[in-house]
């Protein structure tokens, strides 16, 4: 199997993030443009319609470690959210509860993670969860 070097992958993802590939409901990019290691990323998910997340913009931090893309990134919500698999007090996404993180494949990408999280927002168990007031963030 051909293993794509980490930086190649991340650069590709950077470009995709900037070009807005996808349907416009998720966005991602480097947290710091000078970050040569391409580790820290910020992501954004626009809450899907007809859910309690609708019209909200969720900010996330995605960290792609040295083993990425072999290892899944760690994802953390910055904007407060109430959702299964997301730690209520600090917004970390539990890799074991989010299927694509627990069954990570190296063909997955940040975009896919964000889209999957968004999709989970539309699930029956999540879509009606009462949400904290808009604009609140986790303190860390």
């Amino acid at each position: 199997m051909f293993k794509v070097p980490r930086n190649f992958r991340l650069l590709e993802e950077l470009e995709e993030g900037q070009k807005g590939v996808g349907d416009g409901t998720v966005s991602w990019g480097l947290e710091d443009d000078e970050d040569m290691t391409l580790t820290r990323w910020t992501g954004m998910i626009i809450g899907p319609a007809r859910t309690n997340y609708e019209n909200r913009i969720y900010s996330l931090k995605v960290e792609c470690g040295p083993k990425y893309p072999e290892a899944p990134p760690t994802v953390r919500f910055v904007t407060k959210i109430s959702m299964n698999g997301i730690n209520n007090s600090n917004g970390t996404v539990d890799s074991r509860s989010i299927p694509i993180l627990s069954k990570w494949q190296n063909s997955y990408s940040i975009k896919i993670v964000l889209q999957e999280l968004r999709r989970l927002m539309t699930s029956k168990e999540n879509m009606k969860l009462p949400q904290p007031p808009e604009g609140q963030t986790y303190s860390n």
Partner: protein, 489 residues
């Protein structure tokens, strides 16, 4: 990269507009979840300037725009350069309709302009509705103008002076506010989010189900719950509710059908039954909130008088529809909610209009102008039609509410010339209403149409017909009943 400047003719055109900026022009794609536009902008510009362009193109105010690039929200003070936005890249846009931006949570409702706090307060109530309505019926938070207010985020509401935590009160307050301010109402109705919401049958259904009175009603009338569960029907109803012209059309058809129904002996009873079974409980349900139900007296009179459903004749419950009982009538016009709209329009739930949603109730200020106008014209031209219509209870309250607020009536034809006529017409209607029928004419003349009808039906005893008509105030069906009652059947 610098070569992108001014090569396209379109860019040149825009360059004139953006004359204030130097630097090369870049084409940035702005993407919303629904839409995509290419905006040409100077690469040195700030995010604020960028938003200005965008607001023009997307027809939204700058405050409503939230720009996201590479996972970061672009703040007005930043520059495009800062974020590395270059030619050909895509920026995501979220247009916050009736929502505050993600900065700031509870308080700023009062800060924005006139209508928006109302709208956003209603949107505030909706996350409340989300949590509280119907115990987990889970309406999405983004529903503005959701009159099914509730708890939750009351801090925002208290900013508006609605400090009450009892959501029934809140609801009433909301409605009163809306009632007293038809502009707000119309604005809310115009809000595309409202329309979106209304186009979502699941949502409406949840709203209905969430209201405890509806639940009661549903228990008593399983048909209603069937209806609610039938998405097709819901959607149709929603369509109706949203589209006032269609609604008017529909109502007119219903009126005709109903009056036909009325003329069938025995059909009147069916109608009455329908009314008592369905409408009354709705009225009573709404009554708790809205004050006295002018039709309850009617209903009870009809019941007590047995074979004498003298609906039109009994003027008691309508002492002066345009007089003091302003609250009941005006609140009868409350919009947006299921029950209120159902009961207030007083539109009898009928086949194609299951909940009796009265679009007039729903969209008084803005909607229903062309339909209403033509309806009005028809009415004026044909007093007979008017009679027939009057005899239907639901029309009553609609007319009541129309006349209740002559401003509203003139709003019904917004900005168009016949407002004068409308006013006049309203006066006439008022007269007719209070008088019951066109005054200063002999009964024979007044009722000659009805007499003809009765004749055609086979009631040849003109005297008796006339008597009956006079007694029932021109209500043919009541007259028929009377006549039949006095004859050995």
């Amino acid at each position: 990269m610098a070569e992108n400047s001014g090569t396209d003719p379109s860019v040149d055109a825009n360059v004139d507009k953006n004359a204030a900026q130097d630097g090369t022009m870049i084409v940035v794609t702005v993407k919303t979840p629904k839409d995509k536009e290419e905006i040409v902008i100077s690469e040195d510009s700030s995010v604020a300037q960028f938003k200005q362009e965008i607001s023009k193109r997307f027809k939204a105010t700058q405050e409503q725009l939230v720009l996201i690039f590479a996972g970061k929200i672009l703040k007005d003070g930043d520059t495009l350069n800062q974020h590395g936005i270059k030619d050909g890249l895509t920026v995501h846009l979220v247009i916050k309709t009736a929502h505050k931006s993600t900065a700031g949570s509870a308080s700023p409702t009062t800060s924005s302009g006139a209508a928006t706090p109302q709208a956003s307060s209603s949107s505030r109530t909706s996350p409340a509705a989300a949590s509280s309505t119907g115990g987990g019926a889970g309406v999405t938070p983004a529903q503005p103008a959701n009159i099914l207010s509730g708890l939750g985020d009351l801090s925002a509401l208290s900013g508006l002076g609605m400090g009450s935590s009892n959501f029934m009160e809140l609801q009433q307050q909301m409605q009163r506010q809306l009632m007293s301010n038809p502009e707000m109402l119309s604005q809310i109705m115009e809000n595309p989010l409202v329309q979106n919401m209304m186009s979502n049958p699941d949502l409406m259904r949840q709203m209905f189900v969430g209201n405890p009175q509806m639940q009661q009603l549903m228990e008593r009338n399983p048909e209603i719950s069937h209806m609610l569960n039938n998405p097709e029907l819901m959607r149709q109803t929603m369509e109706l509710a949203r589209n006032p012209a269609m609604m008017q059309e529909m109502m007119r058809n219903q009126d005709r059908a109903l009056s036909n129904l009325e003329s069938i002996p025995g059909g009147y009873n069916a109608l009455r039954r329908m009314y008592t079974d369905i409408q009354e409980p709705m009225f009573s349900a709404a009554r708790e909130q809205f004050g006295n139900n002018p039709f309850s007296a009617l209903g009870s009179n009809a019941d007590s008088s047995g074979a004498q459903p003298s609906r039109t004749e009994n003027r008691e419950p309508l002492p002066n529809p345009w007089g003091p009982p302003a609250t009941s009538a005006s609140e009868n016009r409350a919009t947006g909610t299921s029950t209120s709209s159902t009961s207030t329009g007083g539109t009898a739930p009928n086949l194609s209009n299951p909940l009796g949603i009265n679009a007039m109730g729903l969209g008084n200020g803005v909607f229903s102008s062309p339909g209403m106008q033509s309806l009005m014209q028809q009415l004026t031209e044909n007093p007979q039609l008017m009679q027939n219509i009057m005899s239907a209870p639901y029309m009553r309250s609609a007319v009541q509410s129309m006349a209740q607020n002559p401003d509203l009536a003139s709003q019904v034809s917004p900005g168009s010339t016949p407002s004068q006529q409308q006013q006049q017409f309203m006066q006439q209607m008022l007269q007719m209403f209070v008088g019951g029928e066109p005054p200063s004419q002999t009964p024979e003349v007044r009722f000659h149409q009805q007499l003809d009808q009765l004749n055609a039906m086979g009631f040849i005893n003109r005297e008796a017909n006339l008597q009956a008509l006079i007694a029932t105030g021109g209500d043919i069906n009541a007259a028929i009943e009377r006549l039949l009652g006095s004859q050995p059947s």
